[in-house]
Amino acid sequence: MSWWTPQLTAIFWGMFQALVILLGVVLLGAVLTVVERRFLGLWQDRYGPNRVGPFGTLQLVADMLKIFFKEDWIPPFASRGLFLLAPVLAFASLLLSFLIIPITPGWGVADMHIGLLFFFALAGINVYSVLLGGWSSGNKYALLGALRASAQTLSYEVFMGLSLMGVVAMAGSFNMREIVAAQENLWFIIPQFFGFVTFLVAGVAVTHRAPFDQPEAEQELADGYHIEYSGMKFGMFFIGEYVGMVLVSALIVTLFFGGWHGPLLPPFVWFALKTSGFLLLFMLLRAALPRPRYDRVMSFGWKVCLPLTLINLLATGAVMLWVGA
């Protein structure tokens, strides 16, 4: 077998890893829809879905069956092409960002030197999904939701990028594996605390999770940009939101909590534990915090978080120059 070269083995191994990670993330996103409802129930002193299967474990299957067989309606007043494109973008852009997440020393889809920048680029593309979805629906509530979403996401992405620049400066690289390697002795949460806080806020905001879910505020906008979507197209928006949640949690763990580093337990277990901790935090935020008024969200982003990240970046740079000199 002269044609079977070690390179080919590496390619197939890489493809296998990519497939496992892809399926794992999509499945996790789907499972989270039910897990979140159970946790919200727990924190609100009720049960949540507990009827289908033991402890409601088969609720996911029931939901999937329902959403697959729903009528997949495209409004006659919608602009068809964009209407079909938007959910695909919403789902794919966040899913693609998982390329850069290193899960364990041996596992991860791509080891790119642009690393973080790739995530920022795809987070930027993700805005288009909301914008196009809201615009092409031909519905004023959807448009208002899209308007809010794009304004909010754009302004929060400004300091999301800046909040991570401190991490990049300390690690000296955009490459995620090198960032994790730089945290072997000290997790970046300690020197980059304000970077962490602002990235957490920005992460919640770009995934449109409560309390930053103004774009889909049920009470005011009747679900915002995905109001006209039904069936699996809505499902893609919906799962996309949870994939975004997983993505931001994994990013926080990778960038601030030392990725897979940890004593005793194997690397994957540490990564999974830390990530699920942040997933829990995301759910807790939704269970606990009310939705602020829209202008407050904007002014908080521009007047508090942006200056904070700038000061953090300046201080990081100053300290690094001081230590380096």
């Binding site: 269970a287 606990a288 007047k303 508090v304």
Partner: protein
């Protein structure tokens, strides 16, 4: 909040307590993980219904096992949704009883007005609400559906024993605590 301060200091002043309040909220909500859940898993767990719960309506019998209802129609009059209908009939001994007694539970609002109006404690509401039916017609209860064997809530009450009405085997003035009827002719001058 002191409005004269510099806007940056002002913001910082607001931000610190606001962050504390947010964290406290998160903590409070998280502590609910260890609370007992309020939900009653109804079909598996039975619901506690107080004894005076206003549920399924019954017709009771007096301690002797006779029907208490005297077909006075007060319940039907009191009913705000007109869901009770009945017809008076008379036994050989002079007792009144309903020839038919019909409650349409698809109309009934379980307000308990009939129970309050009833002079003989015949009609009573019970702590039972599990009366769902697939067929609306099944919700029309006839007398044999309503009538129970016991006295219900008012154990010892026996209308004909305390009422002044004469029936077979009991004349006027023979009821409990009842004085003999006044002989009006003795009052004549």
């Amino acid at each position: 909040m002191d409005r004269n301060k510099h806007p940056i200091i002002n913001t910082a002043y607001q931000l610190v307590p606001a962050t504390g309040s947010l964290l406290r909220t998160l903590g409070t909500v998280f502590m609910h993980s260890f609370r007992k859940r309020e939900t009653v898993s109804y079909p598996e767990e039975s619901v506690y219904l107080p004894p005076r719960y206003r549920g399924r309506i019954i017709l009771t019998r007096d301690p002797d096992g006779e029907e208490r209802c005297v077909a006075c129609n007060l319940c039907a009059v009191a009913c705000p949704v007109d869901c009770i209908s009945l017809q008076k009939a008379e036994q050989d001994d002079g007792r009144w009883y309903p020839e038919f007694f019909r409650i349409n539970f698809s109309r009934c609002i379980f307000c308990g007005m009939c129970e309050e109006a009833c002079p003989t404690s015949a009609i009573q509401l019970t702590p039972d609400f599990e009366m769902g039916e697939y067929d609306r017609q099944q919700l029309v209860y006839e007398k044999e559906d309503l009538l129970i064997d016991g006295p219900g809530k008012d154990h010892d009450y026996h209308f004909y024993k305390v009422a002044g009405m004469a029936i077979g085997g009991k004349d006027k003035g023979q009821a409990k605590d009842e004085e003999a009827p006044e002989d009006v002719r003795t009052l004549l001058p």
